[in-house]
């Protein structure tokens, strides 16, 4: 599935594929059944994920980054470079570098891939 705007094959959601795992992190960490008499271990990554979702808009900092992105835009050049989005399908490390799509806004989702990377190094 190489064309831009493609859907990644749905059947590849197997947990062993880390690319798939990355996209469902929040489901595993933040949804699912909770039994309130049980203890939920405090997990660093969960807080990071939650922060990430909040940082969207409405800060001067964000505004300045949007302004800068607009300034950088070459309005004359017309169409953007095609097909860079397909690069995004990869493992978590690549997903962390996903800012390629956007530019102006980046957030703490990078941080959570950092957490993973660190863990992996520890384990090896």
């Amino acid at each position: 599935m190489t064309q831009t705007g493609g859907v990644q094959p749905a059947a590849t959601s197997s947990g062993s594929g880390t690319a798939g795992l990355y996209d469902i992190l929040e489901l595993i960490l933040d949804r699912g059944l909770v039994i309130d008499v049980f203890v939920r271990v405090s997990l660093v990554g969960i807080e990071i994920l939650k922060i990430d979702i909040r940082i969207v808009i409405a800060s001067v900092d964000t505004y300045l980054r949007f302004a800068e992105a607009c300034n950088r835009l070459d309005l004359e050049s017309g169409r953007k470079a095609p097909a860079r989005l397909t690069d995004l399908v990869g493992d978590m490390v690549e997903s962390g570098a996903r800012g390629k799509t956007g530019g102006a806004i980046s957030g703490a989702i990078d941080a959570i891939s950092d957490v993973f990377d660190r863990d992996d190094k520890e384990e090896r």
Partner: protein, 275 residues
């Protein structure tokens, strides 16, 4: 329990594997006087679920011991000894997820949120007793269904370009602030205007996409999209329509085309609908 495991259970059940089987050597030979290690809890199913747990990894890896089940009434919970220092490591999250996928192949499952610990098996049993009715009801509701999660992003460059093309004010401010000229206030004004426009466009896009898929779903849960995404939605879909749903997602992605990215994940255990 009425959540009889599925006509979809194409996967063959190994006949020797009785429900509730504990893996080979019992991990806790003397359960009573010595306090039992805390239990990591994975999932709740009907006790008539085949519970094929062979070959699965545990959360905590080698430190985690082996998987076992706690059965009470018509329900079963899958547990393993909790690792001492549980953190969301990639392989632990994967182990949690793989177990759900295995269970899901054979029948209805209530996947637990990652990281839940019970003090011991007895506590798990008490929970099954106390919440039994609720869990059974959910298992019936979720029987024959699966979750799909869709995240979507649109190229931010395209969005900005569109805003600047359509808004005179944005274009004017952009001209004024280019190359470091213009005031700080101009810059903030441009950013705010553009941010609002981008946000409005993304919301509209999200609405359109959700609308196109909702007809194939029984329920949905929408959450705040992360980072550059404009959409983060989970759909509860009948298994019989899972293929159709995937195709609809692919068609939709083709229709939006270049500059859009759709990440459809599924069939998944119904994390978003089990809580």
């Amino acid at each position: 329990m009425s959540s009889a495991p599925t006509s979809d259970s194409a996967a063959e059940t190994t006949p020797g594997q009785a429900p509730g089987t504990t893996q080979e050597p019992a991990p806790e030979p003397v359960p009573d006087p010595a306090p039992q290690a805390p239990r990591y809890v994975y999932a709740v199913t009907g006790s008539d679920h085949p519970l094929r747990l062979d070959g699965l990894r545990t959360v905590g890896g080698d430190a985690g011991g082996s998987l076992s089940t706690v059965v009470h009434g018509g329900l079963a919970a899958v547990v393993s000894p909790a690792p001492p220092d549980l953190r969301p490591k990639r392989r632990d999250l994967a182990a949690h997820q793989e177990l759900q996928e295995r269970l899901m192949a054979d029948g209805a499952v209530l996947p637990m949120r990652f990281g839940l610990l019970a003090p011991d098996d007895a506590a798990v049993e008490r929970a099954l007793e106390e919440k039994g009715e609720e869990f059974s009801r959910k298992l019936v509701e979720l029987h024959g269904t699966t979750e799909f999660n869709l995240k979507a992003a649109r190229s931010q460059e395209d969005l900005l370009r569109e805003v600047l093309t359509e808004s005179d004010e944005a274009r004017r401010l952009n001209e004024r602030t280019r190359g470091g000229s213009g005031t700080y206030e101009d810059r903030v004004a441009l950013g705010e205007l553009v941010a609002r426009q981008v946000d409005a466009r993304q919301r509209l896009l999200a609405e359109q996409v959700v609308q196109q898929l909702s007809g194939l779903a029984r329920a949905r849960v929408q959450a705040a999209p992360a980072k550059d995404d404009f959409l983060n939605v989970s759909f509860l879909v009948s298994r019989s329509r899972a293929h159709e749903f995937t195709e609809a997602g692919e068609r939709l992605a083709r229709d939006y085309g270049e500059g859009y990215e759709f990440r459809l994940r599924g069939p998944l255990p119904p994390y978003s609908f089990a809580a």
